[in-house]
Symmetry: C2
Subunit: 367 residues, 2 copies
């Protein structure tokens, strides 16, 4: 791994750890939550809003950007950082998850996968090499191998095939990756089967990456199976490399994952919850559409210091949300992203004080 | 008029004038453009965004707020300023325009008008006294008399009846208005008929108000008739009181109106243009959806200093707009509002330098 991607562990508390990951666009303190900017924008938030939430790295989707506006266009515009005016680190996913989950049109053919575009239904063929090429054009600091992510409940044969294919694709991804200013991460699959997870870890670590992601969880399986599998898998991964749990973002789930030694998270949850009028609070999740908030002149969360909570009442935000005013969606998204980032930041501080277990026990109720 | 609403003319240039209108929430420099916050929010903009556009007064709609969330609720929340977290001046319109223009259900009955709510179709009866009561509850700094606004092309009999009724309603509005911290403005009607406009001015001035609005224009009539009528009417209005042209906001139209001695404007145009992917620029209006912008790394308007123009390319904004991303709508709205406010501010400066005519001649092409 290049020196610019040094991963320094600052403190540990049980399996939980706080660390710093260096990237060409600055260092990231972990554990960290990465807001998702599918189409090179975190829904309703400008880069200065994002900065204010405490976000220090964001995620964008190679699949979506490949189709709109095109990775070549982004490259000609100077890369993703300049395109979206975000000068801090960016991670792109490879598109594997989208190819296999959107529209149910993926068919493995030869050395790649054929699928129909979500945008216009046209036929496309994608390979691990192409996924790396697209991500090199986009120019994120951290990029992901192209993987096969089976749905929850997939049979043992399917899961095993996906583990093997993901490992072969990982080796091919690594072989063609040439940008030295990008950290390439491998992805571990295997559903909720410990034996397959172990095999997937061994195969992926054998190829060797600057970081490892746990994929194929938080896709619909039982919560206890998710936590057990994550805990089991995290423990198998190299301790000296960042560990990333893809697609997890609920407060209680992230705390479990941090306890298991996970360093990075991403999830569309704060935006999606906001779209449904929901807000995370220190007392649990609330629905701002509820008539009970209509005359409430207090903030969404009295413990929060975000712009929404410092300046607006629940009564006003309920009015905006029920009238479908975009400002309501914006304020709730700003709050929810701030809430999750703040939670993970406080988890980090607790690890450094050796009090993560107490922090986890006193954390907000499960969502 | 209360001392707190002093209207001081600073400079004149022909009929154009620059002035300062004092209100309980601070002074407004005129000519001024007021962004429209129909439901107590200027679409996609937070109060801090608005502050940054240069907006110093915003408009909200009594009609909409009466139905959602209710004027009583806003009053219990401490009034409109606190509710929407905007500590500068606010103007509310009376709801007259909405009652007569939305849904075509208005019927004059006795001393008021019966109509169906746009929200749920329920039957309502509104009087001038109720419109004042609602606006007193909302608590804006400047409020409007309840008027009858006929559509463009209304016959002479209808126009005459509306002029008389609007004058009677103005007298009744004034008689019941009790809040000393609000400036009540009268509204002049009369379509494009100079004789009716003169009658309307005489009747309204006879009652006497702290400011006068020109209503019933920019509702679909020929542009030349609009400009002629506006110019004729503005000249009849008292020179020592603010003059407000309701519903006008296109750049060329505002400059004509300023030349005629108008001081205040409001319009949904910057938001509506943004919703259609349009942007005002120093070179004329452009449509950001056009494929010609897809690889353009320059700003929307190189002469603009707004956050959108300083940080994002046309290529990125086109991507956002074509992908229906809210950030695109937000950035275009921020830019368009800034553009109009900046135009009117520069008109004011030109008046003070005695060069308004040159400024008007060199202004952006008609839109």
């Amino acid at each position: 791994m290049q020196k610019s991607f040094a991963f320094d562990i600052i403190a540990t508390d049980g399996a939980a750890r706080s660390a710093v990951l260096a990237t060409p666009h600055g260092s990231i303190e972990t554990p960290c939550f990465m807001p998702v900017g599918t189409r090179a924008t975190i829904k309703t938030l400008s880069p200065r809003d994002l900065e204010e939430t405490g976000a220090r790295i964001v995620l964008a989707n190679a699949y979506h950007l490949h189709f709109r506006p095109g990775a070549g266009l982004v490259e000609r515009q100077g890369g993703l950082h300049r395109f979206m005016s975000w000068e801090r680190p960016i991670l792109t996913d490879s598109g594997g998850f989208q190819v296999f989950s959107l529209g149910d049109t993926a068919v493995i053919r030869g050395d790649g996968v054929q699928f129909r575009s979500l945008y216009d239904g046209s036929l496309h063929f994608f390979t691990p090499e192409m996924a790396i090429r697209v991500q090199e054009q986009l120019g994120a600091d951290i990029i992901m191998c192209f993987d096969e992510c089976p749905p929850a409940g997939a049979g043992a044969g399917y899961l095993k095939a996906a583990v093997d294919r993901t490992a072969r694709w990982a080796a091919r991804s690594r072989a063609v990756h040439s940008r030295r200013d990008q950290l390439l991460m491998g992805i571990v699959q295997g559903g909720t089967d410990p034996r397959l997870r172990r095999q997937s870890v061994e195969l992926t670590v054998e190829t060797g990456f600057g970081g490892y992601a746990i994929g194929g969880l938080s896709v619909g399986e039982e919560r206890s199976a998710m936590i057990d599998t994550m805990t089991y898998t995290a423990d198998l991964l190299p301790a000296d490399k960042p560990r990333y749990f893809m697609g997890l973002g609920d407060p209680a789930g992230m705390l479990e994952a941090i306890a298991a030694g996970i360093d990075m998270f991403d999830c569309v949850l704060p935006t999606r919850v906001a779209r449904n009028g929901g807000a995370f609070t220190s007392g649990g999740k609330i629905n701002m559409r509820n008539a009970g908030h209509s005359e409430d002149d207090g903030p969404v969360d009295p413990e929060c210091r975000c712009y929404a909570c410092l300046n607006f009442s629940r009564a006003y935000i309920r009015h905006l949300v029920t009238q479908k005013e975009i400002l309501g969606l914006h304020l709730l998204t700003l709050h929810n992203v701030t809430f999750l980032i703040d939670l993970v930041r406080r988890a980090r501080e607790a690890i450094e004080r050796g009090r993560f277990h107490e922090f986890k026990s006193s954390a907000p109720p499960a969502y």
